[in-house]
Every structure is written in structure tokens, then in C-alpha cells.
Symmetry: C2
Subunit: 508 residues, 2 copies
């Protein structure tokens, strides 16, 4: 990575072949940023500058990759905004090369254990939570009141239990439950019953007449009165609250016996995603996350990255890292499924990026994809998951999910993720109730603005004050500490977003 | 309606031409329910009995309408369950007759006014609420904490304000915002800003980089610092909470000046829907709601009924009541849109009814449709609304929405509904935070079971202890009282479901 001078650097050029650089700060028209390159307009922070003349139809190159083709002649020093590029054709999903870029030389992690709550299935909890999964939104109102009462009167009696979390959602009834795509939301809710942070003691609250039946939600042997309450079988409001409280107390007693113990990192499952990205995401926070991912994978952990629409335009780079044909084929199948899902509604990948992304300097989905993939580091990809599936392998995994922060977060939770690392450029107070979220900011400005909402600042990479390896190692240590019990900003303030199942099938 | 003896009646036959009746209670095999009809099996409550022999392929008739065709020979006295019928072809949407059944002889309402909060646009509030509309789920976590604090510290200072309600939702980003169908969720959120219960003082909370921009959410002149807070422009968590509290206090001061005054019922907008229906819905609660709807419409009120998939198989009966060709054409267009929406995902109308409906005796969507339409009474249909549209006319309106309780409730709220009447057979604790919900049970058993969750019991209609007109008039009076401020069961316990926008477009 070529940068201007260490302190007060003005631009970042990532790859030798790039014909654009991005601005570290806003640059006034007329400023000479390097020998022979004087900017022709006022350019906002994070936006692209042409480093040479680019003729109409020529490729615009960043990360060594074609972001698009110039729609008009562009002069050296010009500001290149999203209206000046035409999207390239997306990479073909047929006959992608696989297993041709399997990096074995990963960096050495400083530690290989953490303090977690062990489970029978081999994935440990990072928190000890009484989880309550609902079959349908009908039960939400009354359950929320019971949870409030549980947190006020019961939770303080069980000091080893961190929280009580209801997985409320809009699925379960008034949906096309037999549609082919209904397998996705149903799998997501099934897997939440078994979330590692819930310690095998999840409470199930059902109404009684919903389409998502208890049989669909859980294994037969879990469907016992100790685990399940059906509201239509209880005599009215007060009795329902009382039954919920009794059940919670019984569960809390059991959960309170769980203790943190030292465990190998192979029992940890981490999720990565970004939201509110900007032009710095791909040069600061995401590469730092990628470095910490390499450390985690080398230590035996499972690390998932996701967000189909964001990586679609760099899918060939993911395929090259897939360990075998089966994994590469599943990657292609998930991408095709999503292409079709969007096409069915006459939508294409240009729906991403967001206006905020563009304001932050991200011209299009190709530029966003390159930055997004950077978070996965360089290790081999051992498995591809359909939305909400549980992994069978350990290591780096592509978990196919929408890019929507809440839907991606919920899908990763269903896949057993117990800690998420969330990179943000524009800033979001995002948090999940069922697992801690470490928020990594891309710019010093964001950390200064939201000092109490951003956990890790990757901004010093852009200013030359820190390296990717330094911030990546710092983030790795933060992951170990948070997995072992330290609170994140979102946890401190109890900032939590709702569980949002991915339901590609119709509402009825 | 033909019934067995007044007390201890065993069956209900609705129409002279019906060849089935439904059981008021479970009936043991061998019981003679009428001259010459002895039941051949144990039949559960609310299920159908054949009143004569029905040969394979012959029509099974209830409400004078063909529910389906017998798949095997059925003997007089047999229990007819959902596996014994084949669905008829749905009514054609082309060339439906309209304006051929325009009832002008509606029953006289006992009163024509209520005590409400007047608004400039002519639709009054039934509650005085500080409404907070969000652009995106990103802001939910921090907003919920602020609302909790507002309700604890600010709300008690403003006795004329009933509540503070955040319209949190999963829309706003990570969605295909330019998809053709995105107009629906965007319209829903836009209209929530103007909800009659929010008195023109709605707070808007945005993140700053979401796809659903402030410009898309509201009229230009509403976008002022007094009404809108953008989190990315505020310095961190504590400052955000503090800004939200300041804004809320300013709004509460203004809202506290609102007073209930006597208003004509023409300023009231009522919504009707059902959920967890059973075989009694169509003979007790829904016809009673229909009678109260006739009283309301005669008094000048606006009354909406909804749930496209539930009425689809009786659409020709709705069309006959449409006042002109334009209204009938919009009815057909909304039905066609929904047929296509389901077909796009390889789903058809048989996705409804639910397992609970079937357990309650509803064999299929035709039987459910006849019962569902009964709630709209007999008055002319003056307008058809797309999901979440605001009405231009007063009187009986078909507001096209999904049948999903939460999505229907949210769509009706967006259409300006300020009180919902919710008929339930199986029972649900459903409630909405932005408008009161009166729950009407179909059976005495339900009222006995859920004595503190069901507001009105229509069960006595089935046992012959009350007429449809008596319960309908009682419900009308209840609507007036609740619209004028009396609490419902759901309000007493603060049982509220989340706002759920209808988003037929993809997640990205
Ligand atoms: Ca992202
Ligand atoms: Ca995301
Ligand atoms: Ca209240
Ligand atoms: Ca219904
Ligand atoms: Ca419904």
C-alpha cells in the first residue's frame, strides 16, 4: 500500500496498477497531492482522484481490480464519483477456479485459549443467557412483559447468568409456511433453540394455533412441559405470566451452575460483517479484521463472513480460496440462488451500495466487494453455509446471508456465532442481544464523534500511525477479552437490535 | 340461521341450501342431532356433519356456497374434515358484477358521536400519543432505551398524553429500495408519520446513511430540527439520549394541550380483522362485527376490512357491493397483484388456513372467506385501498392487506385506523401500541379460558342466548367507549405487537 507522508498523508493508493487513489481528508481544488497530480475540484473525504487521464470506456482500477468503465473522458486530478462509472459484467458463476489460492502461512496468534461456557456440541458460549424462542409474534406482547418482570425480580438472584433474551420475530404465522424458501426462516429459528449462549436450556413460548408448529421448531425430545409453554392452554393473562415466571426460575437455577473455564479457541465461532461502509472500510477496518481472522483461524477458531450482495462482484476471489470442488460448487449455488431471488423482483445488484456508502466515496458494488472481502483475511475457505445453517467444519467459512445488518446478524446467530465483529465507516449503534458485538470504526473522525459507541478504532491505519497488523492484533486481543466476558459498548448501554429472520417467501 | 334447541343446541346450519351443519360442542358417535341424522363418528367442536348423503364429486355447501367437492362418498352423519374436500376454482377477477347489491337500509346507530382528539385532516385520534417513527432498525436499540427513560421521567408530567410509542421496524436499509414493490413499505412509514393518534407531532429518528432517506419518509416542510434527529450528527451515546429527551419534552408539552371533545363519528376510522379463526368465527363474532360495522357506517364512520388471501374466494360477493366500476376495478387489481405475488414464489391460496384454523373446523379457504367477509356487514363498499394507503372516502372500505395479524394491523394503522376490532376463535393476546384493539371471542369456552384477555364474547350467539344484533349493538357501544378513552384488555396489561411493514420486495 502506497501512502502520502506518514502524518498528514492525503491519499491512499492500494495496488501498484491502480489509476485512482482515495482522499484521506477533504482536499481543496488546486492542491498538489503528488508529483504532477493537482486536484481539479474540491474532493470530499474518502472519494477517488484520477491519477492519470482516463479516456471514455477505459477501466477505472482500484485494489488492482476494475471497478467500472469511464462514462466520459476523465482528466488527471479529477474527482471520480459514482455517476462517472459503468458497472462491469459480474463474474460468471460457472467454471470458477477453486483451490488455487490456499494460503498455509498464517500469522501466529498470541494466545490459543479463552474463557468460555462449554457445551456438549463443542461450540462454547461467550455469554450465559436464558434464551426464549417464540414460535410466532402473537406471544411477543405478553412475553415482553414477563421478561421485564424476570429481569427485575429473578435475574439478580442468579449472578452467573448474564441476561434473559427473547427471540421475538415476525415469522411463524401469516406466512407461506410450505413455500420452498420457507426452509430458511424455519431453520433459523430451529437453530436459535440450540444457540451456544443459551446452554441447552432455551425456553419455548408458543401460541397454539400458529403455522410454525412445535414439531417444526425443535427435536421431538426437547418438546416437554419443562421447555415449552403454549399460551392457549393456560387460563388467562395472570396465569400465563405466572407460568412463564415459574419456567424461567427453573431454567435460571440450572443456567446459574454454568462456569467460565479455559477452552481452546477451536470452541469459538466468530462472525464478521460490515455496515454503513465507506471508502476507508476496505483499507483500514476490514483488512485489520482480516488479519485478526487469520490469527483466529490459525488458532483453530471458526470464523464466518457473509453478505452475498456485497461480495458477489469479487466471488472469483473467494472461489480461489475454497478448499475443494464441493465447497466452490456450494458457493456458486448460493450466489445463483441470490441472483435469482433479486431477479424475481426485478432488482439487480446495483441496489447496493446505499446512499450513505456513496456519500462515503464508494462508487459501486465492485468497489464495495473488494473492501468487503478484505475482512476474511487470507486463509482457506473450508465450508459454505446456506442462510442460518450450522457449520460442520472449523476454520474460515462463507456463510451466505443478505447484507442487511439485522438479517446478516440473525443468520450468523442461527449458524452458532457467539461474537460478532462489525466494521462501520459511517457509524451505527448496532448490537445483538444474544451475542456481543465489537464495533470497529474505519476513521479517526468516527471514533472522535462516537467515542462511547465504537469499540476499536482502525483509523490510525489511514493516517499511517498504525499498521494493519498492529490494529489486527489489537482486535484479536479484544475478541479474546470480549469472548471471555468483557463488555462491549453496545452491552454497556444495552443497545440491541431485534432478531430478523430472512424470509424470502411470501406473507399470506 | 337454523339452530337446535335454544339451550344445549348441538349444531348450527346457516343457509337453507346447506348440506352440512357445524357442531356447537363435541358430539359423541351415535348421537341423533336431528330427525334422521345420527352422527357416525366422534366429532370435535366446530366441525362439519353431513346432513345427507353426498356422493363423490358433489358439492359440499355451507353459507349457501360451495366449499369444495367431495373426494369420496360421504354418508349422512359423517364428520367432514379438510381431507375430504377438493378446492373449487377461485372466482374469476375479470368481468365481476359490481354495484348490484348496494344495501341502503342500514340499522340505526344508538349514538352518532364520540369523545376524540380532533386533527386538521378530519380524522380524529382515539388516543393522544407521542409517536416516534424511525427510518431504519439501526436506531432501535438506543431509541428503546430513550423511550424507557421518557416513560419513566417525562410521561408522568403530561397527564393528557396517553403513551409514547416507537414505530420500530425491519425496513429502511438492506432492502431493495428501488424495487417496484418498495412503494408499499415506504408508503406505510410515510403515513405513520401522519397517524391521527400522533396529533401532527411525530418525532423522526434517523441514522444518516440509510437507504430510506428523510426526503422519502416525509413532506419537505416537516423535515426540521424540531421534528427530526439524525444520530450520525450527534456526539455519541449520552448526547444522543439527551437530544432525544429534549425533543420528546418539547413534543409532550404541545401534545399535552390536546383535549377530548365530542365529535361526529365521521371523524372515526375503524379497522376490522380476524386471527386464529375457527368454525364459529363466521356465525358469531364476524356477523356481530358486521352488524356493528353497519351501525358505524350509518353513523358516518369509516370502517376498513382487509386480508386479501382470506376473502379471495368470496371476492365476487365483495365486488357486488362496490359502488362503481372504478372501485370494482381496483378490487380486481389488488386481488390480481396478490395472486401474482404468491405465484412468483410458487405458493397458492391453500397456504391459508392455518393448522389451528383446521383444528377449529375450518376445512379450507372458501369456508374461511365466507366467515371472514361476514365481518364487513352489508353496506356499500365505497373505496378499495392498496396496502397502507389513506382513504379518500368515508364508509365501508376494503383495505387490501395480507392476512398476517401484524402486517394487517400495521397496514391498517398506516391507512389511518385508530381502533381495531379483532375477532378470534382460537385466541391470541394480540395488541397494537399505536391504537387500541378490542378482541372479540367466538366461543364461550374461549371467554372462560381467557377471561382477562377477551374484551367481548360473541359466544352466546352460538348457544342461542343472544342474537347477532344484540352482540353487534353491544360491540358498537364498546367501540364508542374505547374510542372515547376506555382501556381494552391489551391496554390494561400493555400487550403490544411490533409494527411490521409489508415488504414484498427483496432483502439485499
Ligand atoms: Ca456491509
Ligand atoms: Ca451488513
Ligand atoms: Ca398507557
Ligand atoms: Ca383472519
Ligand atoms: Ca389476520
Amino acid at each position: 500500500m502506497q501512502e502520502g507522508k506518514n502524518v498528514g498523508i492525503t491519499y491512499i493508493k492500494v495496488n501498484e496498477s491502480d489509476n485512482v487513489a482515495i482522499t484521506v481528508n477533504a482536499i481543496a481544488s488546486g492542491t498538489e497531492i503528488m508529483d504532477g497530480v493537482k486536484v481539479n475540484q474540491d474532493i470530499p473525504q474518502g472519494h477517488k482522484i484520477a491519477l492519470c487521464n482516463i479516456a471514455e470506456g477505459e477501466a477505472i482500477i482500484r485494489y488492482g481490480v476494475t471497478l467500472g468503465y469511464a462514462l466520459t473522458d476523465i482528466q488527471k486530478g479529477d474527482w471520480i464519483n459514482e455517476h462517472m462509472l459503468q458497472l462491469p459484467i459480474p463474474p460468471s458463476l460457472d467454471d470458477m477456479s477453486y483451490a488455487v489460492n490456499l494460503m498455509s502461512d498464517l500469522p501466529e496468534p498470541p494466545v490459543r485459549t479463552f474463557m468460555g461456557f462449554p457445551n456438549e456440541d463443542g461450540f462454547a458460549g461467550t455469554r450465559n443467557i436464558l434464551g426464549i424462542v417464540t414460535t410466532v409474534q402473537c406471544v411477543t406482547g405478553i412475553l415482553n412483559n414477563a421478561v421485564k418482570k424476570m429481569k427485575e425480580t429473578l435475574l439478580p438472584q442468579y449472578p452467573n447468568v448474564d441476561d434473559i433474551v427473547a427471540i421475538n420475530h415476525a415469522y411463524g404465522c401469516g406466512v407461506a409456511i410450505s413455500a420452498p424458501d420457507a426452509v430458511i426462516p424455519i431453520r433459523m429459528l430451529r437453530n436459535m433453540v440450540k444457540h451456544p449462549n443459551f446452554g441447552g436450556e432455551t425456553m419455548i413460548i408458543s401460541l397454539g394455533c400458529e403455522k410454525l408448529t412445535l414439531e417444526m421448531l425443535m427435536d421431538e425430545d426437547y418438546n416437554t412441559p419443562e421447555n415449552v409453554l403454549t399460551l392457549q392452554e393456560v387460563n388467562g393473562h395472570d396465569a400465563i405470566i405466572s407460568e412463564m415466571m415459574k419456567m424461567a426460575q427453573h431454567k435460571l437455577k440450572k443456567l446459574n451452575k454454568r462456569q467460565r473455564v479455559e477452552l481452546p479457541l477451536s470452541q469459538l465461532c466468530i462472525g464478521l460483517q460490515c455496515g454503513g461502509s465507506d471508502a476507508f472500510s476496505g483499507v483500514t477496518a476490514n483488512p485489520a479484521a482480516g488479519y485478526s481472522a487469520d490469527l483466529l483461524v490459525n488458532a483453530g477458531a471458526t470464523v464466518m463472513f457473509s453478505e452475498v450482495t456485497e461480495v458477489r462482484d469479487g466471488v472469483h476471489l473467494i472461489a480461489e480460496r475454497c478448499v475443494n470442488e464441493e465447497v466452490a460448487n456450494k458457493l456458486a449455488a448460493e450466489m445463483k440462488w441470490y441472483d435469482q431471488y433479486l431477479e424475481n423482483s426485478h432488482v439487480d445488484r446495483s441496489a447496493n451500495p446505499t446512499p450513505g456508502n456513496k456519500k462515503g466515496g464508494l462508487s459501486n458494488i465492485v468497489e464495495k466487494a473488494m473492501g468487503s472481502i478484505a475482512k476474511s483475511g487470507s486463509s482457506p475457505i473450508v465450508e459454505v453455509l446456506s442462510p442460518g445453517e450450522r457449520p460442520a467444519e472449523k476454520g474460515m467459512i462463507f456463510a451466505a446471508t443478505p447484507a442487511s445488518d439485522f438479517v446478516c446478524g440473525s443468520c450468523q446467530l442461527s449458524s452458532g456465532m457467539t461474537l460478532q465483529v462489525f466494521m462501520t465507516g459511517r457509524g451505527t449503534p448496532y448490537g445483538l442481544a444474544a451475542a456481543p458485538v465489537i464495533k470497529v470504526g474505519t476513521r479517526n473522525d468516527l471514533k472522535n464523534m462516537w467515542h462511547d459507541l465504537i469499540d476499536v478504532n482502525a483509523g490510525p491505519i489511514a493516517t499511517g500511525e498504525a499498521t494493519i497488523q498492529e490494529i489486527g492484533t489489537h482486535l484479536f486481543n479484544e475478541i479474546i477479552d470480549v469472548a471471555s466476558g468483557r463488555q462491549t459498548c453496545a452491552e454497556k448501554y444495552e443497545i440491541y437490535n431485534d432478531f430478523t429472520p430472512f424470509n424470502p417467501a411470501p406473507i399470506t
